[in-house]
């Protein structure tokens, strides 16, 4: 943490909105990136962004400089993403598709996630997305942080507030599952 960042955090903790604004701008692109890669949807990513920074704002006074500020923020981001998954599962979706013979699983997805809207992205992308959706939230989060955001296992463990061994297990499980799921589709 730089001296400037520490000063900014302290000012923001005292209630200086400008300092808080500057802090947000330092980290928000990365937060939005994590949210977007986790959800695959821009609107959901923006919702997660709002949630994350409201929680940062509310919890800022409790931050005691016992870890990197970035770790603290990204930890909040991963938790919000995981909470989001729980909320999504409780939703009831109504399919707006006119095709009666669609895969019934697709009817449970929000309209924005309908795979027919994504055909232009390529067959592999569709397969990967479907495989990602089948992962449990924590495994999916570890997977996104590792493969799409490039974090190390140690960093992911910090962000998800668990042991490195746990993250290794999540990632191994993800790799193994992906290996099986992608093998079942057309050979690539």
């Amino acid at each position: 943490m730089t001296i400037k960042n520490i000063d900014l955090i302290k000012k923001a903790q005292k209630g200086e909105i400008q300092a808080f604004d500057e802090l947000v701008k330092t980290y928000d692109r990365q937060v939005l990136s994590i949210a977007l890669k986790y959800t695959g949807d821009e609107d959901d990513a923006k919702d997660i962004y709002q949630d994350v920074f409201i929680r940062v704002y509310k919890g800022l006074k409790k931050f005691e400089f016992n870890c990197e500020f970035s770790t603290w923020i990204y930890r909040i981001a991963t938790n919000v993403c995981l909470d989001y998954t729980k909320r999504m599962k409780k939703r009831v979706f109504v399919s707006t598709s006119i095709n009666d013979d669609e895969d019934p699983i697709l009817n449970e997805l929000p309209v924005e996630d309908n795979v027919y809207e994504k055909t232009l992205r390529g067959e592999i992308s569709q397969k990967i997305e479907k495989a990602l959706e089948s992962l449990s939230p924590k495994i999916k989060m570890s997977f996104v942080l590792k493969h799409f955001e490039g974090y190390k296992i140690r960093e992911i463990a910090d962000m998800m507030n668990c042991q490195e061994g746990t993250i290794k297990k999540y990632l191994f499980d993800a790799n193994n599952k992906m290996k099986i799921l992608l093998k079942d589709f057309t050979n690539y």
Partner: protein, 312 residues
């Protein structure tokens, strides 16, 4: 699966994740050359990895980021208006009293002793004066209107603004409320003249040594974008007892301020301060050494050498 198979499976996963050590990499590669089954297994893992690398991930565009920021600002304003800090403070006080009732009783007792003692001891020495707060004519003015959403096609628009009610406050410069306003004015006033006025007050009333004022001064020295204001602030530092917080700010100025006058003032105060106490860490010494080498002002270079020499 036996232990060895499990071990190699783990190594394969670590290799796919780019988290394998060099030694384990060698061991794994050797094994893959010898074991056909593991080699095939590894090929499958590798296909998955290649698939990820060709997958087009959603990227954050500037437009998306700006939309998120605008929405967040509106959201944040609502939170601020809810009086969030007041309600959490009340919650914290409640929690503290319930969780630490013994300490709370102790603190309350000590506080009451202090109040009684203070009333008797300080009765004849009041430095606080009557503060008068009077609203001017009572008009609230709107300032700094900004559109958050000017697209009226959905029937709604949204903007934010500051509602400002002019106030007058008058009192003794040593009073806490006055000092809070001074500190705020020093840092936040957009008008350079106002910031200078705030500093000039301190010049005429040097006995004001409040921590809030000192912190504000240090912040002005580091971050004010007007060099005249920063110079005024750094000159006032001489009225304060030299300590580590002052030292850190002086070193910051020596390293970062682009105005040579500021760096000269900083190094002079540092030299004087360090004569009385030796408090330079290795990092501080490195800052001075860097300035000896690269500062474009010869006086700063010479003074930095002097400080280091005396320190040794």
């Amino acid at each position: 699966m036996n232990k060895e198979e499990i071990k190699f499976k783990e190594l394969m996963n670590l290799l796919i994740l780019d988290e394998i050590s060099e030694e384990d990499k060698v061991v794994l590669k050797q094994h893959l050359n010898e074991c056909e089954e593991c080699k095939n297994d590894f090929e499958e893992y590798n296909k998955v990895k290649l698939a990820f690398s060709s997958y087009k991930k959603e990227m954050v565009t500037d437009q998306l980021l700006n939309e998120a920021r605008i929405e967040f600002k509106a959201h944040l304003r609502k939170e601020i208006n809810k009086g969030f800090f007041l309600s959490t403070t009340i919650e914290k006080v409640k929690d503290f009293i319930v969780a630490n009732w013994k300490n709370t009783i102790g603190y309350a007792f000590t506080l009451s002793i202090g109040i009684i003692a203070g009333t008797f001891l300080l009765r004849g020495n009041e430095t606080t004066s009557n503060i008068t707060n009077e609203p001017l004519s009572g008009e609230t003015r709107i300032q700094d209107i900004k559109f958050l959403d000017s697209d009226a096609s959905d029937g709604e628009i949204e903007f934010e603004f500051n509602a400002v009610k002019p106030m007058v406050i008058k009192g003794n410069v040593n009073d806490t409320k006055i000092q809070n306003v001074l500190a705020y004015s020093m840092i936040n006033s957009k008008n350079i003249g106002t910031r200078l006025h705030s500093l000039n007050v301190l010049e005429t009333e040097p006995k004001v040594l409040d921590k809030e004022i000192k912190d504000a001064l240090l912040s002005v020295i580091k971050y004010d974008n007007n060099s005249g204001v920063r110079k005024e602030a750094i000159d006032l530092l001489k009225g304060y007892k030299y300590d580590n917080s002052i030292k850190d700010v002086l070193l910051y100025v020596i390293k970062n301020d682009t105005v040579s006058g500021m760096r000269i003032s900083a190094i002079n105060i540092l030299a004087q301060g360090e004569k009385e106490r030796t408090s330079l860490s290795n990092e501080d010494i490195n800052v001075l050494k860097q300035q000896i080498e690269k500062d474009d002002n010869s006086y700063v270079r010479i003074q930095a050498q002097t400080v280091l020499k005396e320190y040794r």
